[in-house]
Every structure is written in C-alpha cells, then in structure tokens.
Amino acid sequence: MSGSMRLSGGQVDHDQVLKFTWNGNEYKGLGGDTLASAMVANDIRLVGRSFKYHRPRGIFSSGSEEPNALVHLRSGARREPNTRATVAELFEGLEATSQNHRGTLEWDLLAFNDLLSPWLSAGFYYKTFMWPKSFWEKVYEPFIRSAAGLGSLSGEADPDAYDKGNLHCDVLVIGAGPAGLAAAVAAAKSGAQVILAEEDFQMGGRLLAETYEVNGKPGADWAQETVAQLGTMPNVRLMTRTAVFGAYDHGIYGALERKTDHLSNPAGKPRQIMWRIYSKRAILCGGATERSVAFGNNDRPGIMLAGSVRAYANRWAASAGKRVAVLTNNDDGWRTATDLVAKGVEVAGVIDTRDREPLTHIPGAAVVTGAAVKDTSGRRALKRITLTNGQTMDVDCLAVSGGWSPNVHLTCHQRGKPVWDEAIAGFVPGGTLPVGMVVAGSTNGTYGTGACLAEGRSVANAVVKDLGFAASRAGAAKADDEPSDVTAFWHVKDSPSRAWVDLQNDVTSKDVKLAEQEGFRSVEHLKRYTTLGMATDQGKTSNVLGLAVMADARGRTIQETGTTIFRPPYSPVPLGAFAGRAKGKDFRPTRLTPSHDWAAEYGVSMVESGPWMRAEWYPRSGETTWRDSCDREAANTREKVGVADVTTLGKIDIQGKDATDFINRVYSNGFAKLAVGKVRYGLMLREDGMVMDDGTTARLGENHYVMTTTTANAVGVYRHLDFCRQCLWPDMDVHIISVTDSWAQFAVAGPKSRDLLRKIVDADIDISNEAFPFMACADITVCGGTPGRLFRISFSGELAYEIAVPSRYGDSFIRALMAAGEEFGVMPYGLEALSVMRIEKGHAVANELTGQTTARNLGLGRMVSDKKDSIGAVLSRREYLNRDDVWHLVGLQPVDKSKKLSAGAHFLDKDAEPTMDNDLGWMTSVAYSPALGHSIGIGFVKRGGKRFHDVVRAWDGVRGEDIEVEIVHAHFVDPEGERLRG
C-alpha cells in the first residue's frame, strides 16, 4: 500500500513501489508519481509556509503553476531550493524537506507575523523603518533580511554537469496535450521536420488527468498510441521533460530538458540541457491554467484547484480528501465531483456561484447554486467551510474552480499584449505574436477536447502548407466537446476574513484595494506595490484574480484595467543550465604557447594572460621570492642572453598590390618608404584619435608584410583591418590572414644573442651587424633547412632578435635555443623580467595604451603624420586633446631610492592636498630595476614633458603610500640606444 489515500487505476505503476522521505519520515509512492501526488496519496497536508505571514500551506495544484508546495529536493551539495513538488518526478530514495520556517514546519515561530497582519499591509515598509536613521542598516534591515527568501542553497558548488545544444526544425510544437498531439501528427505527416516538446514526463496533457474518450478509447490510451506512432517517424523528435521557456527573435526558442533529474544520481551525464531550438514555425499548444476564487481564508491546506483534485484522482490514483466539496463558477468544476464519485470518493457538496439548475446529479452531494464559500476553518488542514447562505460543510478538501486562464506566456515574450475574452472569462493571445508562432487549443481559448484536436490539426496543416509541404488529408481524431460554460466570479466581498489572491506572497484582496486607494492603479504599480504575481509562480494562478479585484475596486472592466505581460522564462531555469559547460577551468578556452610543455619540464610559474597561459618567471632552487627569479632573468639578459616566448603577440599576414598604401593609412606614422627586408614600429589610432594599438610591421616582400599587434588587441586590430579593407577601401588589393598560431616566435635578447643565433640559423646566412642591422628582417632557414623568420628588433633595449619557426617545431626549437645558448649562459625569461626591461626602456604596453591616451600623451605626437591621411589623424587634432596641460608619459624614480613605487598612485605637487583638483596624473607601471638597483616607474604627468627633474608626490591612498618621486626621462637604461644597434 503506497499511502492511505491511494485509489485504484490511473497512470501510475502500482507494482513499482518507490521509497522517499519527507522531513526525515519515510513514505512509499509509485512509479509515475510526482512528489506531490505521492504526498497526496500519503495524506500529507501541510507542506510549506507562505512568504510573509508564514501561514500553513498545502498542495494547491498539480503542475508548474504551483505556488505553495515548494520544497528542498535532495540533500548536501545537490539540495535544490524552491522545487515545486508538483513537477518533481518521484524516484527511489528521493529526499525532500520543508523550507521557510523557523522551528518546525508545524510550529513555525514566524507565524507570529500573521497576528501582525493589520500592520503589515501592502507597502507598509515604505512608510516606516526610517527613525532613527542609523537603525535601518543596523536593526530593521538585518531583521527583514533574516526573514527574506524561501528555500536556501547548500552553499556548496553544484556538483552536477549541464550542457547546451542546438536543434533545427520546420515546426516546433510546444505542448503535447490534445491540440499539440493533433498538430504534431498533422505536421509530421507532411514530411516537415518536427519537434514536439512537452514539459511533463508523460505526453498527453489533460488527457492523462481526465476521463475523456478520443476515437472511442480512453484519452490517455489514444495519447500513448499517438506518441508511439510519432516515435517511429524519422522526421519527428519527441522531447518529454522539456519546458520551452522563452520565445526569442527570429524563431529561436529556449528549452530546458531535464535529463537526469528523475534519477537518484546523474552518473556523470549532464543533469539538464538548455536547447536553442531554431524553428521556422512554432505551434503553441500550452493549455490553460485553472485559478481560484477570493473568499475568506481561501488559503488553507486542503483548498485546491478543482482540476488538480481531479488530476490526482484520475492520473495518479490519489484522493486529495476523504470528504470533498467543490466550489465552481463553471461547468468544468462539476467534473471534479462526478470523477471523484466515480472513484468512490465522498463528495459532500457542489457549490456553483451561478444561479442555475444543477448541471448533473451528484450522488450523496448537497448541490447549492447561486452561492459561494464565505469562510473556512482548520489551522493546519481544512476542517469546515461556511457558505454565503450560512450553510456549513465539514470537509477536508475544497476543490475550487474560478475558471481557466489560457497559458499565453510565450505569446507575450516579444511584448504581445493578451486581450480579454468575456466568453471564457480569460485572456487570449493578442497583439503581435513572436514571428512564426501560431496558437492552438485552450491556449487560444478553444475549450473542448474535440475542438482542440480539430484546431491542432487544422492549424498545423495551414503551417506546413505555408512552408511548402503537402498537408496530409488524414482527418482529425474525434472526441466530444465537454461543456465548459463559465460566468466570471472573482471575489466574495462580504467575507469578514482575509481573502488570498497571491498565495505565496500573501497578497490579499485588501492589499489590492489598498493599492487602488493609494493611487497605485496601473497594473504595473499594482504588481510592484503589492508584489502580486512576483512569486516563484509568476502569478500563474493569481494575476487574473488580482486584476479582477483591482478592476472591481476601480469600477472598470478588466480590459480597461490592463493586462500584465509575461516575460521569460515561462518556468524557472537553473543558472547552471544557462551556463552549460562553462565552469571552473572550462569557463573559457586556454591558449598555450609552443614552449608550454618545455617550460613545465624546465620549471616555470605560469600566469593567465587573457586566453593565454604565459611564463611569468622560471624559479630556481634557492630563490625565495618571484623577485629573485625576475631580477636574475633580467640581469642575465642584459649581461648575457635570454630567451622569451613571444608567440602570443598577434601576427597578421598582409599581401596585395595595395598593401603598402593600406598599411600607410592604418598606421599614423609613415610606412610608404619602408624598404623590403626592414621592420618599422607602427602606431595605430582609432578614428577618434586615441591610440588603438602599436607594434612592429616587417616588409618581407614588395607586396608582402607581416604586422604584429599587442597580445590583447590581436582580435580587435584584425577586425579593424578587415573593416578598413572591406568597408572603407573596397577596391584595394589587400588580403589579410592571421598567422598568430602559425609561428612559434622567440625573443633572443642580450649581448650574446648574436653568438647564440649563429649556431641556430643555417650556416650560409650572414647575421653580422653589417649584413643584418637593427630593424632588419628576413625569411631564413634554421637547424638545417627548417623555414624560419628573423627580425632584428628589441623590446628589452639590448642587442636582440625575434626568431620564428612553424609552431609545430616550437617545442623542438626552444630546446635547441637553450642547448645552443648554454655556453653563453642563456636563461629563459618570463613576463615579469620582460616587463622590467620594457619599463627600463619606457616602452608603453596595455597599462599605458588604455584607450584614453593620445600619441601626444605618449610623447609620440610626431608619429601622427600630417603629410598623409591616416585613421584618426583628423580628430587627433582637436583642441582639448592638444591643450598644453595634457599628460605626458614620463619616467619616475623615488627620491629616497630605498622606496618602492606602486602603480595606480596619483601624482600631486609636494604641498598639495589629495583632491581631484590637484590631480597631476597617475603611475601606470612600476618595476624594480636590477640595472639601476632601485624601484622605477613610468606614468602620465600633466605637462610632465616640461617638468623633468621636478619632484612630486606619488600618492597611493588605497595602499597607504605617499612617496616623493623625481620626474625623469622614461628611458632609464641606455637612453641613446647604442646596445640595440651594437
């Protein structure tokens, strides 16, 4: 026996018993159960607490609209707060616990709030908690925050995997109820590519919950056969457990597939997959959601939606009560009574708010029409209801039907506005629907199984015809249209007690009226002031009711009062699913340089540099800090020879008859006369005159160049060049392709670099200073015929080269360089030493090229030629950029050489207060210079170029430093540049 309230039959497997625990107590359920249906079967009434008043809450619905039955599912790092028990599939060993209470679920201390409710009405907090001022931070808010929220996260990293994917189809059918199944069949028969997505773990929609017949057989059986038939068609993809949560531009839909949530353990496979579904057309068959009626104490456990009570009985063979009453304003509610009786459940009474003849005879039930429920009693579970006519009934379950609201959510995602349809007392799709979306079935306001089947088929046929497929002639499945008349009834006004509109957020009809009274009359104001519809159910069961109460208060129609439009997602989506695989080290791809493995063997400290991993230094035994390694590497390079992997610099191959002219226009300095076999430093501006990037460009041939960019700007510069050649100068014969990854490129720097390279480059190549002077370049061969490139350029300021081989030879090549250099005392050097040496030479990098600096700021004003057109030249001449107190990049050294400079410090005149008005600029880069034996820096100083040898303060408040520094030329080492020409 799986629960005292279990009935016979239904869609559950009575032979498959599953154990689960609720707040530590063990219960039994059946295969095919949801956690909620298993709880119903086990007569579990109290399942949670409401948000504000902590009122007892029971299961209210049987689907994703559930506002009450929110639980912690699973435990440990897999704990999942706010999980709707109504959609959680039962599995062996499922653990669930209640949330949002202090003390036990039964004895929740915060239920005290309920007694304060007169003072906790809508928006009360905007009117108080202001005195004394300091108390908000210290007392009031901490108290409010301590009560905030519903469930709680585990605090541990989510252990499960998520994935994303992409699907393409002609027709996406959303929802597998009668309309959706009919639509899918019709679309599939036409040969179109069809995806049928269903939120539930079983296809069939209401057919699973009702006793309707289709084609003369039980609806559930027909659904099963239809799904089986679709499953055999190669052009159909069936997706259960897949909620389409968003309609995005141009027919793209977001869908969440729950892959392993119904298993005890995902076993290494993704828990969920977020699909992007690219559809030509979408047919929305999302069904409708039932809503409640506002009457006194309508929030007690045991008060449920009538259709859900019916669903629990018919589909899950679980009775929501021993003695049930039905309150309805429509024909559909009556079916709950008839179905329950058929299942042998006692129905005490049917209350129809309409003044009409009984729809049918309900054995043993008192039928009251033209009346409603006025109040109820029973603290933790419903005991008694009192009718407006004074009559009372002792029941443990009240099945309420306030009518049905079409699930128009997805039709609103591109801001379509639903319109009110009095005939069904609900909003139907209106305004502009997402491109390619059509709607069928009850989402369209079409009630009645037969009508839904017919509409699904005809809509699908129209869609496939429109796409150029031949619609199948097959007729529609046949079913009766059950009666569904409704007469709107919202609110029992003469009820003395509070009547709930939004069960989770504790919004009562009084709150809605108060909002109206205080002028919050637009729907948006109503929502925001009362928090109506802002709960985890997004008002699926409460929005229309709240709107109706507001309309009533204003004496307007619902249409006049307005509509709330729904926003994605249709149902909540875990953040992990949106992120997919992007976690930990897999957050972003990693780029490795060709010497990566060698460096690891050699012993290196690696650092993330954008997408790249780069060597920052190569520690040696005996070295205690990174500075020891860095100083040694820099000194060794200046005294002997060092090797650094500079592969990460962007390299762009540029060819074409107009290549020279092209490069001459994208660089601000002249390139027209660069000789073949020569390299030149180039400065690249944005069109607004700011420096975009810099680098060296080598002319390898008459029409052939290779441009280098900074590591950070490689992608942006490439894009810019492509823009220039395609959009600005479309007829230029210029062709570019990235060769960044093609070449393993190494800087070989230091007085012994030439000696080292003589052993590497093939014997017949003359690299003497005469044959291969500073700024020379050439295609060469190395190590016996391997092609390579040699550039005589220097970032360190030493005699230096950059030498490149195809990157597949890179690993072998760095080993060769180190072996060849051994006799000269070669050492590899990392980013830190490279940085030290470039600061000693005053070279600008990203710290200086901030996108806020001009050539003039960098002291390169002369590099913006006025003899030619180049990108950025015109706007670089603007007055404010050329005022005489602009910043200049200068060198800084501490007056007291023992002091250590820090980047980010601002400069002030000696006696000046640290204020923005006195701000002279800031330190951009600092280093300890082994060559000079003290700390040095470069930075921007107002009119700095005219202030050499002035002493200013480097004020670094955030680090508590304030150091006197002397403004000097930025070339600290070998200012005349003799070494690099040597």
């Binding site: 808010e141 905030a148 929220g149 531009d249 897999d586 800031w922």
Partner: protein, 416 residues
C-alpha cells in the same frame, strides 16, 4: 500625510482605510514655469529638487505611461560612486551623499542599503587600474579599499577560489555602496514633488515642441498643448526620438540591457559583487531574490527585450565565480532601453535652442545617478549654469575632444 510608525499603527487598528493617494491625478494646466518631459526616476527627482531646493513648484512632469515606468523600474538597483575620471567622481559622490539622506529628505523608505560593492581584479594590471580608480575615489571624498586575494576571500568566502580559470588577484571595495528599492525611489520623489504642488501627469505623451522664432515655449502632448518657460527633456532610452522632434541629432544610440532575478532564496550574498574576467554584477534583494545583470545586447534596439546569448554569457560568468548558485533558478528576465552615449558618460546641458534643456545619455549607470542628476538638472534649470559637479556633461564635448571615457573603449556605444 506624513508617514511614521505611529501612522501605521493607527491605520492598522482602523483597517488601513485612512491612507491617502500618494499623488494626485491632475489635469495639465495651460502653462508652467518648467515642464519636465519624462516621469522616470531622473524626471521625478528633477521635479523634487526644483521644488525642495530651488522653490520652483509651478512644474509639470509629463509621463507617457505610468510614473517610474522608465529604467528606474527595470534596473539592478546598484548605488555606487566608484568612478575614476575628474568629470565623473565629484558628481557620483554627490549622488552617493544624497542617497544617504534620501529617506529623511523624502519621508519615504527607499531602502537604501549600504552593504558595499566589490569589484574583482584578475590580473596585476587590472589591480593597478583599480588602485588608480580607488585613489581617484579617495581624492573626491568617496571611500575605497583595495583588497588582496586574501582580503577578498575574507570578505566573500563564498566566491570560487578553487579551480578558477582567471584567479582573483585583488578587489576594489566600496563599503558605502549598495542597493536601493528602485520603484520606491521613484514613488518617493513623486510623492514629495506632488506634496509640494508639482503636477504629475500620467498617460500624457509629448508629441512635439512648441517653437516660436527659434525659442522653445512649450510642448504638444496627447493631452493638449502645455506652455512652459523652460522645457526639460529627461527621457533616457527615447532621447533620440524625442529630441528629433526638435530637429536635433545626438551622440547617443539606443540599446537594450537585460536584468535578471532569481527565485527567492535565504540570504547568501551580503553586498554587490562584480566579476572582473567577464561582465556580471550581482546582489541579493531584501526579499531574497538574486538580482543580477551583465552586458547590453550589443545591437541597437528600442524593444524592451533581449536574447539568449547575453543571459548565457552572464550565467557562465556566474558559474565561474559563484558555482554554488548552479541550482538557483532564474525566475524572470526583462529589458530596458538605454541611452548609450559615445563615451559612456551622460549629458546635463542646455541645447542650442533657447528654452530647451536636455538630460540623458546615462548608458546603464543611470539609477545610481538619479539624485545627483535630478539636483544638477534642477540647478541648471533654475540658474542656467551647470552645477559645479556636472560641468563636464556638455553636448559639445566631443567636438572639443573632452571625452569622458571611463572604459577607454572609444566612440562605440555598445562597448560602454
């Protein structure tokens, strides 16, 4: 009526029947001293400061839809003054100080909550950039603390320090920063302005400007012509469209910024945290929802909705540094249309047309600026001179080359 605990107690005993409407619903008059076009946060704040600080109360605010329905109703509620450039810092720090006194000033609890903002740095140069910024903040009277990795870990132990792809090197912490209840800010300003006699006119769309020999003397609206000595446009998101009616083209593009909120959760994140190896800012509201956002959608649009790539990007950043949020569910996403300016900084200025003033270009930093924007705009309208903290926000700055580009990404609005 004045709000107080006593008032609430009294009303509670009498069924809350005595609460009055927070604003009147007046008909527009034929003429005002100042007509403010746009009843969003900045427009309402401007009205409040005109009335309360400059004693100019013959003012109307014309709002196309409902009060506070602009971006103040759809943002991530972050308040901070962690700026870097001299044109910005004094202004945003002024705003911060106004925030700190807002409740008392308005007699309305906007829930300004100073739980701090932490910007994470993932490289040495990013850290040094934050040092530069932090020092600029201190130099303009704001607060700033530079934290090292351990400092960040102490402040936010819930961040991923285990298998980071981009290890955290440092953080810039501004303790006085925080969040405020965005809607309440609009309502508080509206209530205050209304109590001082400002006409707040909803469902009134401005369809054109009244021009008389080159001077702007009023507006045409869906509720008739309204004359004014000064017309103050304040319609961020629609600036280009509205100013086009006056024949002006602006250095502004319209883009959509999405924002997101999770299901209600017991408190997990104390203040505001931003991820530095991507683009994500997140905080947790007093109701328990995680409120977060990232980049704009990149393409120009006037539609208040975004697309999947941005939310995916935001979620990826989230999992990279807050992996314990993997099972938290995104509840709702929405989009607001932003005035993206060419350098990421705003405008508060007279136009070349006498009588016509402009406030806009807030990109997606407008919420924190609301009080200062209102005060400085009111100052400009009242005195015809820029407020001392807003002298840089001029329409002609690009022509002169005085660019206020905090990010240094240049004249491409979708990068700011």
């Amino acid at each position: 009526m004045r709000y107080s605990a006593w008032q609430i107690f009294k009303e509670g005993l009498t069924g809350n029947k005595g609460w009055k409407p927070v604003w009147r619903e007046p008909e527009p008059k034929a003429e005002y001293d100042v007509v403010i076009v746009g009843g969003g946060g900045h427009g309402l704040a401007t009205a409040w400061y005109l009335a309360s600080r400059y004693n100019i109360t013959n003012v109307a605010v014309l709002e196309k839809g409902w009060l506070g329905g602009g971006n103040i109703g759809r943002n991530t509620t972050i308040v901070r003054s962690n700026y870097m450039l001299p044109e910005n810092n004094p202004f945003y720090e002024l705003s911060m100080k106004l925030w700190e006194d807002l409740e008392q000033d308005l007699n309305y609890n906007a829930m300004m909550s100073q739980r701090g903002i932490l910007n994470l740095a993932h490289s040495d140069s990013q850290r040094d950039g934050y040092a530069r910024r932090g020092n600029a903040m201190l130099m303009s009277g704001a607060d700033a603390v530079l934290l090292d990795r351990e400092g960040v870990r102490k402040l936010c132990p819930f961040i991923n320090f285990e298998d980071e792809r981009f290890p955290i090197k440092a953080g810039l912490w501004q303790p006085r920063a925080g969040t405020a209840r965005h809607d309440a800010v609009a309502w508080g300003y509206a209530r205050g302005a209304d109590l001082r006699g400002v006409d707040l006119i909803q469902n009134c769309e401005v369809t054109g400007f009244v021009m008389e020999n080159g001077v702007c003397t009023g507006v045409e609206s869906t509720r008739g012509t309204v004359r004014a000595k000064k017309v103050a446009v304040c319609v961020a998101g629609s600036s280009s469209v509205v100013m086009a009616k006056a024949g002006m083209r602006l250095p502004i593009e319209s883009h959509v910024l999405q924002a997101y909120v999770s299901e209600g959760l017991k408190p997990t994140i104390p203040g505001v945290v931003t991820f530095g190896a991507g683009h994500l800012y997140i905080s947790q509201s007093d109701k328990g929802g995680l409120v977060f956002g990232g980049d704009i959608d990149k393409f120009n649009t006037y539609a208040q909705r975004g697309n999947l790539p941005v939310i995916e990007h935001v979620a990826e950043d989230m999992m990279a540094f807050l992996p314990f949020l993997g099972r938290a569910r995104l509840l709702r996403s929405w989009g607001g249309v932003m005035d993206m300016s060419m350098d990421g900084s705003p405008f508060i200025d007279k136009t070349h047309i006498d009588g016509l003033y402009f406030n806009g270009g807030w990109c997606y930093g407008g919420f924190k600026a609301t009080p200062a924007s209102g005060l400085c705009y009111a100052h400009l309208l009242a005195t015809d001179t820029p407020h001392e903290t807003a002298t840089g926000f001029r329409l002609d700055r690009f022509k002169r080359g005085q660019i206020i580009d905090e990010k240094g990404v240049g004249p491409q609005p979708n990068l700011h």
